[in-house]
Amino acid sequence: MGDWKAITVPLLSSGSKNIFPYTSERKRSPTSMNSQVLRLSLPSPKNMYNFFGAFCTEENLEQSISYIDRELTTMGFPSIYAEPKGKELNLVCIINCMNELLVLQHKNLRAQEEVEIQHLKLGSDMDHLQNCYAKLKEQLELSKREIVGLQERDRQLQSKNRNLHQLLKNEKDEVQKLQNIISSRATQYNHDMKRKEREYNKLRERLHQLVMNKKDKKLAMEVLNYVGRADGKRGAWRTDKTEARNEEEMYKVLLSDYEQRQKQLLLENAELKKVLQQMKKDIISLLPPQKQKPKERSEDGLVLSDQEEDIGELNKENMWELSCETVREQLTNSIRKQWRMLKNHVEKLDNQVSRGHSGAWNEKDVISREDHELETGKLELEIQQCKEMIKTQQQLLQQQLTCDDDTTLLLQDCYLLEERERLQEEWRLFREQKKNFEKERKSFTEAAIRLGLERKAFEEDRGAWLKHQFLSMTADCKPENTTASAFLRSSDPDIRLVKSASRQRRLPSVLSPAVSPEPFQISQYIAQNSVASEKPAADNMPNLWVEGDDKEETEECTKSWEDSGVGPLFRNLHMEQLP
């Protein structure tokens, strides 16, 4: 609002100030002008008409235009004259100015509306705040009154308290006074008592003299005849001896009493010791089971040593018979230790129980079982995979044997080379029998075949399949050259070789995905394998063909490979395939 005023009102007022003289004079004005000015703003159209009507008339048109031009230029609008000094009006410019003014007017109107709304809002806010203020004022008044009331009460209570304090003090004084009176009376009473008692004693003494010293004839005992003592003894004279004897007897009585008491205590002690021993034994027999627990090993170790000590102590049975002083320390120590053990044990049990309640204990157990199952599942899967791999390998081998003679040959030889290197020592032993080696080889081949058959019988399906394959393969291979036939002989053991490899517990996971029907991959794998075997213990590659069962076959195969003389070839291949 303020802003609006700041911009428009001074303009108007200045305008009106300047204009009013004209308006009073010139009452007629063109309607076109009126309508335009009416748009500018200002409420009543009648007044407006009069007001503006007075502004411009036919006579002062020039002046009005110049005035407006001046006004407009002061407001930053371009001049409405076409030329700076000319009288011709620039209509476009006027229209533009008019438009600008209208836009400005709209803007201002909107702003005014907003401001009015805001004003209303603020007014209501103000009201609200005033209400609040009034309320708070009331509250303040109330609280003030309350405070005054409380202060008054406080003051009353304080005065009451003071009174009570005063009363208490008075009472205390009273009590003190009474106590003094009592004590003085008590002393007086005691004094009187003593005096009276003394008097009484004196009187008694006097009476005694009077009564006793006079020869009282009446004071007598008439007895028919004296009777014997109950114990049959005669009364003894009173002498020093009797006195001594009395003392002696008294001490005897006391002694016997003490002895009896000691006996009782001994008995009690013995019984307690027995109980203690029993308890110790029980505790010891109770505690050992916790020793097996892997947890808290250090503590267990400590306890164990304690227990050993205790057992050692227990063995010293006669120790119990010793007097308490000598054993006391040991006894208390051992009991303390055992107690500690028991406490630990019980605490552990408590812990377990609490853990069991929270389910953690169970969970742990279950997890381990699950782990176990998972592990077995994994292993089974692996076994399955291995089996499959073996199968494929066998298949591939046979395929190789049938189709790619040279490479299979080489690869085969690669196996055999590896094996030969591994089994060099054992092979040397066989050297001794080199003379009849050929013979033995034949017989051995036969035995191997038989073994293979046996195994086939064991795994019927695969055996049958293998056999079929083998047979078909042999049928295919018959027309091939001698190297092929040499392999034919060794093909069966090879199968077995692979099988034996399957018996290895784990295949390296790196290699397992390498199982694929592609012969090249397999061969590569084999080559790598052989490289690995050439540098033993270099890594964790499996020694696939080290099984003792197959040594002889491999030996044979090596022989065949040597005979065939493809070593260098293989080496070349090997060099090529090294990554």
Binding site: D216, M221, V223, A230, R238, E247
Partner: protein, 448 residues
């Protein structure tokens, strides 16, 4: 139990401690009866009205005291002709008793000037000077060897220990008491308990040789000890006091083991409260809470009360003691151990209708007997844990761990039992009213 007829007796009859006879006296005459048949064995005539009779320990002699004349007459059961008369002369007589050997008579003269010890064996007479005039100023050990006498000289208390054999002074020592009230030997005869007047709580324990073993004081200002009791094993000393509590000391350290409170409300579930209730005679006796054995039941036809078990908590009748009177009726004055040391019976004087039976093995309240009338006396069976209680009515109440039972004294008239005295065998007991007595016989096997 079965009863023989009620006899007239002016003086408390006495059952002899060893043999079966039973003595009673009417006026001048002393009647000695057989305890089992109650037939008259002997009849003696004394010089004056008998005020007190007492059997000697071997039951051979009976002492009849006539305090008014200062005369004691002794009769022999074996020799009816034998007689003995002791005249205290002008010194007067206030008390007379046998020494434990049954051959000496101790007479206390008037004003407690002295105690005269007369021997029946020799003509010798001994005097004990300055005995203290107090409730329990003289005590013999159980074996009869020693006697302790409380003395007062120069406003100080002393204890003298005599050898009963020859009445020689063994020990004489002063006690740290203001006004010694009583002394009592432990049953083993080696410890003497002495307690101070009720104005001060103080219990002193002396060895036979006069050494102070221990001194116990539970509190300082309020009224103190009202009564004490040794357990038969000498293991415990129960001290009842005006603060309605019983404190039990042990014999090793002489320190307090436990404290038995006697509240008016019993709330412990482990305590059995037997309440005596009146019932019309038409009610069947079988509805007794603890059906007694045949013999007991047969005598119950005419009973007019029975026991009920009250449900805890139970509020007992409580009498607010008058504080500004001397010897207020408050606190535990009556207390006694059972013969087997297992139970302690007490009575709190401001809950006069209840007997409290404590289990000493558990140190807990075991049973409370709530009677209709004020408890006059109770006594334990000398052989087994069995308590007889009388309340000034014509009924005797027996309690044992098995239960409790009401026994009605048969016969006409009102027989107000004020005192009970068991025979040493535990087979029978004397029930005494002011003027009459009767004997109650119990069958031996019934409780066992």
């Amino acid at each position: 139990p079965w009863f023989l007829e009620v006899f007239k007796a002016r003086i408390l009859p006495q059952l002899s401690p060893v043999l079966s006879p039973q003595a009673s006296c009417i006026q001048h005459r002393l009647v000695v009866r057989d305890a089992s048949s109650l037939q008259i064995l002997q009849l003696y005539t004394c010089l004056d009205q008998i005020q007190y009779i007492e059997w000697s320990s071997d039951s051979l002699f009976i002492l009849c005291a006539m305090y008014k004349r200062g005369i004691v007459q002794v009769w022999s059961l074996e020799q009816p002709d034998w007689h003995c008369k002791i005249d205290e002369g002008s010194a007067g007589l206030v008390a007379s008793c046998w020494s434990p050997d049954g051959r000496h008579i101790l007479n206390t003269t008037e004003f407690h000037l002295r105690i005269t010890v007369w021997s029946l064996c020799t003509k010798s007479v001994s005097y004990i000077k300055y005995p203290k005039a107090c409730q329990q100023g003289m005590a013999f050990t159980k074996d009869g060897r020693y006697m302790a006498v409380a003395e007062r000289r120069d406003c100080k208390d002393f204890i003298s220990i005599f050898v009963c054999n020859n009445w020689q002074l063994l020990r004489h020592f002063d006690t740290e008491t203001q006004d010694l009230f009583g002394i009592e030997w432990a049953p083993n005869g080696c410890v003497l308990a002495a307690w101070d007047t009720c104005l001060e709580y103080k219990v002193l324990l002396y060895s036979l040789d006069g050494r102070l073993l221990s001194s116990y004081r539970a509190y300082e200002w309020p009224l103190g000890v009202k009564g004490i009791a040794w357990s038969p094993s000498s293991q415990f000393l129960a001290i009842g006091s005006f603060d309605e509590k019983v404190r039990i000391l042990n014999h090793v350290t002489w320190k307090k083991i436990t404290e038995f409170d006697h509240p008016a409300t019993i709330s412990s579930k482990k305590t059995i409260v037997y309440k005596e209730v009146e019932k019309s005679p038409t009610v069947d006796t079988e509805r007794l809470t603890f059906p007694p054995t045949r013999a007991l039941a047969s005598s119950l036809f005419s009973t007019q009360s029975k026991y009920d078990i009250s449900q805890v908590p139970v509020s007992l009748q409580y009498i607010k003691p008058v504080a500004d009177r001397a010897n207020p009726k408050v606190g535990v004055g009556m207390l006694a151990f059972s013969a087997d040391n297992c139970f302690l019976a007490t009575k709190n004087d401001n809950i006069p209708n209840a007997v409290w039976i404590w289990d000493i093995r558990k140190l807990k309240l075991s049973v409370v007997l709530e009677q209709l009338c004020t408890i006059q006396a109770f006594q334990w069976d000398p052989c087994q844990p069995r308590l007889a209680v009388c309340t000034g009515s014509s009924r005797v109440y027996l309690w044992s761990p098995a239960g409790c039972v009401v026994v009605q004294v048969p016969g006409e008239g009102d027989f107000q039992i004020t005192s009970i005295s068991w025979h040493c065998s535990g087979d029978s007991m004397l029930l005494l009213s002011k003027e009459n007595f009767c004997v109650c016989y119990l069958e031996r096997e019934e409780v066992k």
